[in-house]
């Protein structure tokens, strides 16, 4: 084990002692905070970049060919046919890499040059981030980013507390508390003492565990243990703390943030992989052709050439015909390499780049609210967007806005906040309608909107129940109040739900003003009232409720409780029956609208009873054994016979267009899985809210087992349930081989009728992801329409993605906004980041980013679909073109003694792929559209061919190749036949090799141009220019190269002088060209016509419809217009950990001025001495369980 010792002397110099078992050495740490994400600098660019480029198989292959061509014995093509494209490609890639790296340099510089205050020579000085060193002491101010991993020394808050937001690290937006050691927090802001701080930190080596830190601080002869609670990590933001001091422990690349960023995996699309396979096949094919021709050459040399050679090369030594065949093989490998030209790879990249720009430029994916356009960060994945089968989505910030708004409430059986208008008119109505007027209330939060005046009326009329309801909202919570510089009241909330409720109460006249550990002060309709806080019955997952017991100024003791309705309704006093049924109806109504509900109740407590109970609670608190159980029992005891007040409904606002997007994606047969770190209830709520879960579903399986066995059993049971209902499958699914598993899974998917949903929590998921339960999980999940995983860790998110990726062999997309989604975004085939939120981590790790979830449907259904369609068309055409182009040499081989003579001019071979035919196919690959974007959106079923991989697969490839071979056959044998016994118009012979080459080249260019013209379905100006331009370019270059001028300069390079002029004025040659074109194109046209006519695909039909210009769109048959009524759900959405009840009641997080002065007067309901320990214990518990999870799963 390696430990780092960081010794501080003064503060600017530090020591790192690395002790291993055998020896100790002392090293002066000079690790600065500079980060490098760039790859090259000016000097290293060329060698490193070239090295990287030639590591690619394609480039290396072409280099190999180039070397082959330099060997005179086998060189059948001159070197420039390969080097020109190769240099072009390498230069283009190098320029792209250089630009990318330039931007990385730029962003590095920007981060490195951020300013922070560093304690140097006993003074605070501004210093750039990159100059901060390990051991430096840094002062941070509110809302500043943390520059490096720090050991918190002291802060402006009492007890050395400080609050941080870790959104960039783990995606959680709630505040977290960090606290300094008490010894160091005493240093305060005393610069001179801080400057003299000379502790030594022994700590672990830099690692990427965000939630774990172990170390020891040795200072003034004593040692203090350090844990995660004392550390502030780079990337956090300081909140609610005016300043704090910290000592740098890890800087630059050692920081946990940078350690976590990891290397981005190089992603390839499935088309890429298919292309690689095909290219290998083609090489195999090429080798076969080479062998056939080499054998042919050996035979020819033996039979014919032997005698022929005596005549032609009589002074050469007798050559071994086998050796000749061997040389011929390599010569043909060189000639036939144009089947996979280097320009294929370049063109693919260019097309993807074009598609990426289209996404970047799309105004319909521009979010005006945050001024963010969509951005493509990886430009090489576009066509895969058209093949997505699974979408893994984060919830918070992705599906939802993470904004809670108090929408409705039911008080004493009466609903407030109803808007009666039709939903469609709602938007206009909101504009017209006056908001409930809160101007009378100076403390009102201006952002709050409520549309029901009745509630205001009731408050004014003094309805006691209404008052009690609002009072409860103002009292029963864990919110911390704060006044900002302008004197405005600001609430620090741990969960947005609570914030929404307290803010609602505040706007309605019950203003929560301040709290001390034993009092809560609220302003009730203008009068200040202080309540004594007697007990705080905190929230946890099992209780699903929280309560406070307060004594009001009149001396009455009251228990106020809010919690999940299912729990709370059991605790009600029997007299509540009427209101219970009313409220229950209301709750159903709220839930039907996708609102998160809480039930509200109170209880009047007898003084005596409370005292007895409190005594028991104190006993329980100091008890050593079964403490938690006893406390829980006591809580149960007092929280009964409650009087129901009503219920609240909070909207977890979905992002705009989420429902429509989810519906469209599911119509496109894309399965959406929600993976969230949030609580189960919340996740389910959102599932219902965006129509992923409905009450129409046959069954919603909830897997929440706590042991491996339980989970497995639950999974199997759920599966049997599904099989049982569909009655088509016996229990033969228990043990399956992986392959069978896959098949089974897909069969099952088809046979299972009805909609199922699976909800699984992180804890169970850990077990389910183990090998034996994995298959069951996968199988079950595949059968379900919706899968929701809640409370999952970032790592688990990635594991789920990997699971589907690996076993389902499907293309996956992960979308998220927070740093907790980074792992999932990186491991999915395509990662999408929601940009414009606080954290940038997800965006930085993503391949695509945009501001709103709703843009996903446009990205997939329009851009992705088009990209896939275009890329497939491009590849089909490209392979066709090159087979037609190249195989002519094969046929010619039989007539030229297998001597590796090319059919075409060398220049034609060089230019064919990069000049004569590149642009039309690029234009098609970039601009082609089969159906309009509106139609692609209206008819999501059009997306399916991509998922089924129908447009380009091995079968399609063979068809293209066959087409190419046929064309090459026609291209060669028609001129061959025609040239057999031919003479020119003036008797001159035109059957010479050069004329033949020109005829073939011209036919080829015309045939492939006609073919691309037929393939292009969307003729823009650019297509016209490129197609006509290519033909024109061909002829002008042909005439230029066959001109007198160029021949006289380079007679050996351009021996075709005068050929174009001579051949192309012959009628016969044009007759040959015409016939070749007709015979190569007509069969394809006939074939396509019959296919479209007899078996039209959906695309064909839509195209026809589009053509007919009927504006009628496809009926949106399955698109639900209104939300279905749903069963009632209750959400109590606090933070993941237990509430801060202890923190509040202990008062440790209160301002120093408010802290109790005399301990004797202090009424401590808990033995609060050890709250920090408790908190630590809790955290470490979770940490431990988390790390256990990790080890288990890894």
């Amino acid at each position: 084990m390696i430990c780092l010792h960081i010794a501080l002397q003064g503060s600017t110099e530090s020591l790192l002692r690395r002790s291993e078992r055998k020896y100790k050495e002392i090293v002066i740490v000079d690790q600065d905070n500079r980060i490098h994400t760039s790859k090259y600098n000016v000097l290293t660019f060329l060698p490193i970049n070239l090295f990287e480029q030639f590591q690619r198989v394609a480039n290396a292959y072409f280099l190999f060919l180039l070397i082959l061509q330099l060997i005179p014995e086998i060189s059948s093509l001159t070197w420039f046919t390969t080097i020109v494209p190769l240099v072009l490609v390498i230069t283009m890639t190098a320029v792209k890499d250089a630009t990318d790296d330039y931007f990385r340099h730029k962003s590095d510089n920007q981060v490195n040059n951020r300013q922070s205050e560093v304690l140097i020579d006993g003074k605070l000085q501004n210093e750039k981030w990159m100059n901060v060193k390990v051991g430096d002491i840094i002062k941070l101010e509110n809302n500043q980013f943390v520059a490096a991993d720090l050991l918190l020394l002291s802060s402006s808050e009492p007890h050395g507390l400080c609050y941080i937001e870790t959104a960039e690290l783990d995606g959680e937006t709630n505040l977290k508390v960090r606290h300094a050691l008490s010894v160091t927090s005493e240093l305060g802001a005393d610069i001179s003492r801080l400057a003299k701080f000379d502790g030594i930190v022994d700590c672990e080596a830099p690692n990427n565990k965000l939630d774990k830190f172990t170390g020891v601080l040795s200072w003034i002869d004593s040692k203090y243990s350090l844990n995660n609670e004392k550390i502030i990590l780079r990337g956090c933001v300081l909140r609610n703390t005016s300043w704090c001091f910290g000592m740098v422990i890890f800087a630059g690349p050692d920081t946990k943030l940078m350690q976590n960023s990891g290397k981005t995996k190089f992603k390839r699309t499935s088309i890429d992989r298919l292309m690689n396979t095909l290219v290998l096949w083609i090489f195999g094919f090429l080798v076969c052709l080479g062998i056939i021709l080499a054998i042919g050459n050996s035979i020819w040399e033996q039979q014919v050439g032997d005698q022929f050679r005596a005549f032609l090369f009589w002074n050469e030594e007798e050559k071994n015909f086998v050796f000749s065949g061997f040389l011929t093989f390599w010569s043909y490998v060189i000639i036939l390499n144009t089947v996979v030209p280097i320009s294929l790879y370049v063109s693919v990249e260019v097309i993807r780049l074009g598609h990426s720009y289209f996404i970047n430029w799309d105004r319909k994916m521009y979010y005006a609210g945050k001024a963010t356009p969509a951005e493509v960060r990886t430009t090489t994945l576009n066509e895969e967007l058209g093949q997505i089968e699974y979408v893994f989505s984060d919830k918070t910030g992705t599906l939802t806005q993470n904004i809670m708004t108090f929408k409705k409430c039911s008080i004493n059986g009466k609903i407030y906040g109803e808007v009666h208008e039709e939903p469609s008119q709602k938007i206009e109505m909101i504009k017209k309608k006056e908001h409930a007027d809160f101007s009378a209330n100076p403390k009102a939060d201006s952002k709050f909107q409520f549309f029901d005046h009745n509630l205001i009326e009731s408050i004014k009329l003094g309805d006691p129940k209404v008052h009690e309801f609002l009072r409860l909202l103002a009292l029963c919570h864990t919110v911390m109040p704060e006044e900002n510089s302008t004197g405005q009241l600001i609430y620090q909330v741990q969960s947005p739900d609570e914030g929404a409720l307290v803010t609602a109460a505040r706007n309605l006249g019950f203003i929560f003003k301040s709290r001390t550990p034993e009092t809560i002060t609220i302003e009730e309709l203008g009068t200040l009232v202080t309540y004594q806080l007697l007990a705080f019955l905190d929230f946890n997952n099992i209780r699903k409720r929280m309560s406070v017991i307060v004594r009001n100024p009149e001396g009455q003791i009251k228990l106020y409780s809010k919690g999940a309705d299912t729990i709370l309704f059991e605790k009600l006093h029997p007299s509540n029956e009427d209101i219970l049924s009313l409220t229950s109806d209301h709750l159903s109504e709220f839930a039907g609208e996708g609102l998160r509900t809480l039930a509200i109740a109170y209880r009047d407590l007898d003084d005596m009873y409370f005292k007895q109970w409190y005594k028991m609670l104190e006993d329980a608190n100091i008890a050593t054994d079964e403490r938690d159980e006893r406390i829980a029992g006591l809580y149960e005891e007092i929280e009964r016979d409650l009087m129901l007040l009503g219920a609240t409904a909070v909207e977890d606002e979905l992002q705009e267009g989420v429902i429509e997007t989810v519906t469209n994606l599911s119509l496109a047969n894309i399965k959406l899985w929600v993976l969230t770190g949030d609580k189960q209830e919340t996740a389910i709520n959102i599932g219902y809210a965006c129509n992923m879960l409905t009450d129409d579903m046959n069954e919603v399986f909830v897997i929440a087992g706590n042991t491996a066995g339980e989970v497995l059993e639950e999974l199997r049971k759920a599966k049997e349930n599904v099989f049982g209902e569909s009655r088509s499958f016996p229990n033969g699914h228990a043990v399956c081989e992986k392959k069978q598993q896959l098949e089974l899974c897909s069969i099952v998917e088809e046979t299972v009728t009805g909609d199922y949903a699976l909800i699984i929590n992180g804890h169970s998921l850990a077990y389910a992801l183990e090998s034996d339960a994995k298959n069951d999980l996968l199988e079950l999940a595949c059968m379900c329409k919706t899968v929701v995983c809640c409370r999952v860790t970032p790592l688990q998110k990635a594991q789920v993605v990997e699971l589907v990726k690996k076993h389902r062999n499907a293309v996956t997309l992960a979308i998220g906004d927070g740093a907790n989604d980074v792992s999932m975004i990186k491991s999915a085939h395509i990662g999408v980041g929601i940009s414009g939120q606080e954290g940038l981590q997800a965006v930085l790790a993503s391949d695509y980013s945009f501001a709103q979830f709703k843009f996903l449907q446009r990205l997939l259904l329009v851009h992705g679909r088009w990209s896939y369609f275009r890329m497939c068309k491009f590849l089909c055409y490209f392979f066709y073109k090159n087979f037609a182009f190249t195989l002519v040499h094969f046929w010619f081989g039989f007539f030229c003694g297998f001597s590796a003579q090319t059919v075409y001019d060398q220049w034609f071979i060089t230019l064919f792929n990069i000049v004569y035919t590149s642009l039309p196919v690029l234009a098609m690959g970039v601009f082609d559209q089969d159906v309009s974007e509106q139609n692609s959106l209206d008819c999501p079923q059009l997306y399916e061919p991509g998922q089924l991989n129908l447009l380009f697969n091995k079968r399609k490839f063979f068809i293209c190749v066959a087409h190419g071979i046929y064309t090459s056959f026609a291209l060669f044998f028609i001129p061959y036949g025609a040239f057999y016994d031919v003479a020119g118009a003036d008797g001159q012979h035109i059957a010479d090799y050069q004329s033949f080459a020109v005829t073939m080249a011209t036919s080829l260019v015309i045939v492939v141009s006609v073919q691309i013209a037929l393939d292009t379905s969307y003729w823009t100006v650019i297509n016209h220019i490129f197609i006509w331009g290519s033909i024109a370019t061909y002829f002008s270059i042909l005439f230029a190269m066959h001109s007198k001028g160029i021949f006289e300069i380079f007679p050996n390079q351009f021996p075709f002088v005068g050929n174009a002029g001579h051949s192309l004025t012959e009628k016969l040659i044009w007759l040959v060209v015409l016939l070749t074109t007709v015979t190569s194109v007509m069969p394809v046209v006939a074939f396509r016509f019959l296919k479209v006519d007899l078996y039209p695909t959906l695309t064909d039909q839509i195209r026809q419809r589009q053509k007919a210009q009927k504006k009628a769109r496809l009926p949106r048959s399955r698109r639900p217009q209104a939300r279905r009524s749903s069963s009632r759900r209750s959400g109590y959405a606090f933070a993941h950990q237990e509430g801060y009840g202890e923190l509040i009641t202990s008062g440790k997080n209160m301002r120093a001025k408010k802290s109790p002065s005399a301990p004797g007067l202090e009424k401590t309901p808990y033995n609060s001495t050890s709250w920090i320990e408790n908190l630590c214990k809790k955290t470490t518990d979770t940490v431990n369980s988390f790390s256990q999870d990790k080890t288990v799963k890894l």
Partner: protein
């Protein structure tokens, strides 16, 4: 975060047709009627073209006489190394049943001579033939230099293997009178070859210009003595030489040799009657040699192949057309049937 600071408007993508993929475009839709009409038209075109081509190629008169066997004696003679460059003449009489109207062209035709071998085709020096630097023999392997190291002019395998039989056509009016048919050797090459690609070195006396070089090994005379009758037809610009240097695409090829000078008896062409070829046989090879006399048509001398190919294509197109119509109509019936149900 820094991004937010940027000007909001500048981040809004431009609303151009190009960037929004809204470029005005026409969708080519291949409706049944269009396709079927196109097939009909193309089929008709091909059929008509095919018939015209067949008829026209039938109208051309061609006579081909293979003299490999007849002159086998000469070949045998030459196999003997002593008689290597001994001239040998053979005569081939033949009867022309119909007269050949108009221009008559004479070709020599070789069977199985691989002028398209990769190494053969490259074995020439275009810069030498351009007359600028006649010592430039770099691409001519293996015929660059003679044994004593002087460069071969013209170098290379192509030049070396030049066809150098002499063919003389005689018109036998009767058994006594043999008229040598007047033949022209001019204009048998491409203009660009004669005046651009092949140039003699600029020197008044060709033999001086070729000094310091060797004639190709198989040649009996140096390049500047190829045509004894016409001094302007010597060196690199010799017509026969140029024709030979334009290598054939396939192992069987015919090359332009002479054209009829339409004077005296031959103003109308070649009259029917008895003729004979007097061939000075120089070299033999494994393939066969023939001599061809032919007249041309409007499109030059096309063989039957193109005509047949057009006819077959036209017929096939119509065949496919009928089957497509059948399929289309059946489908329509099926559709209406479903609709009725």
């Amino acid at each position: 975060m820094e991004m937010k600071l940027k000007d909001n408007l500048s981040r809004l993508p431009d609303n151009t047709a190009m960037k929004q993929q809204q470029l005005p475009a026409c969708h080519f839709h291949f409706s049944a009627t269009r396709i079927l009409t196109a097939f009909f038209a193309i089929g008709a075109l091909c059929l008509v073209m095919g018939i015209i081509l067949i008829l026209s190629s039938k109208s051309a008169k061609t006579i081909e006489i293979n003299y490999t066997k007849i002159c086998a004696n000469c070949a045998k003679l030459q196999e003997n190394a002593f008689n290597f460059d001994k001239e040998c003449t053979c005569s081939i009489p033949f009867y022309l049943p119909e007269k050949m109207q108009g221009n008559v062209y004479m070709y020599y035709k070789l069977y199985g001579f691989y002028q398209n071998l990769h190494r053969y085709i490259r074995s020439r020096s275009d810069s030498q033939l351009l007359g600028i630097d006649i010592k430039n023999v770099e691409d001519c392997a293996p015929f660059e230099k003679s044994h004593n190291g002087t460069p071969i002019v013209p170098c290379g395998a192509i030049a070396n293997s030049m066809f150098n039989d002499t063919i003389i056509l005689s018109y036998n009016l009767n058994s006594a009178i043999h008229i040598k048919v007047p033949m022209l050797r001019s204009e048998i090459t491409w203009w660009t070859d004669k005046y651009v690609k092949f140039q003699n070195p600029s020197s008044r006396n060709l033999s001086n210009a070729f000094a310091g070089s060797t004639k190709p090994l198989y040649w009996s005379k140096p390049a500047y003595e190829l045509d004894e009758e016409d001094p302007g037809n010597n060196g690199f610009i010799n017509d026969d030489f140029i024709v030979w240097m334009r290598t054939a695409a396939f192992p069987t090829f015919k090359k332009f040799y002479r054209r009829l000078n339409r004077i005296q008896h031959f103003t109308e062409g070649l009259p029917a009657g008895n003729y004979s070829f007097n061939i000075t046989y120089i070299t033999s090879f494994q393939g066969e040699k023939a001599v061809v006399l032919s007249t041309l048509t409007w499109d030059g001398g096309s063989g039957l192949f193109l005509g047949f190919a057009y006819t077959v294509t036209g017929a096939m197109t119509w065949l496919v057309l009928f089957s497509m119509i059948a399929a289309h109509l059946m489908l329509k019936k099926r559709k209406t049937f479903f609709l009725q149900q």
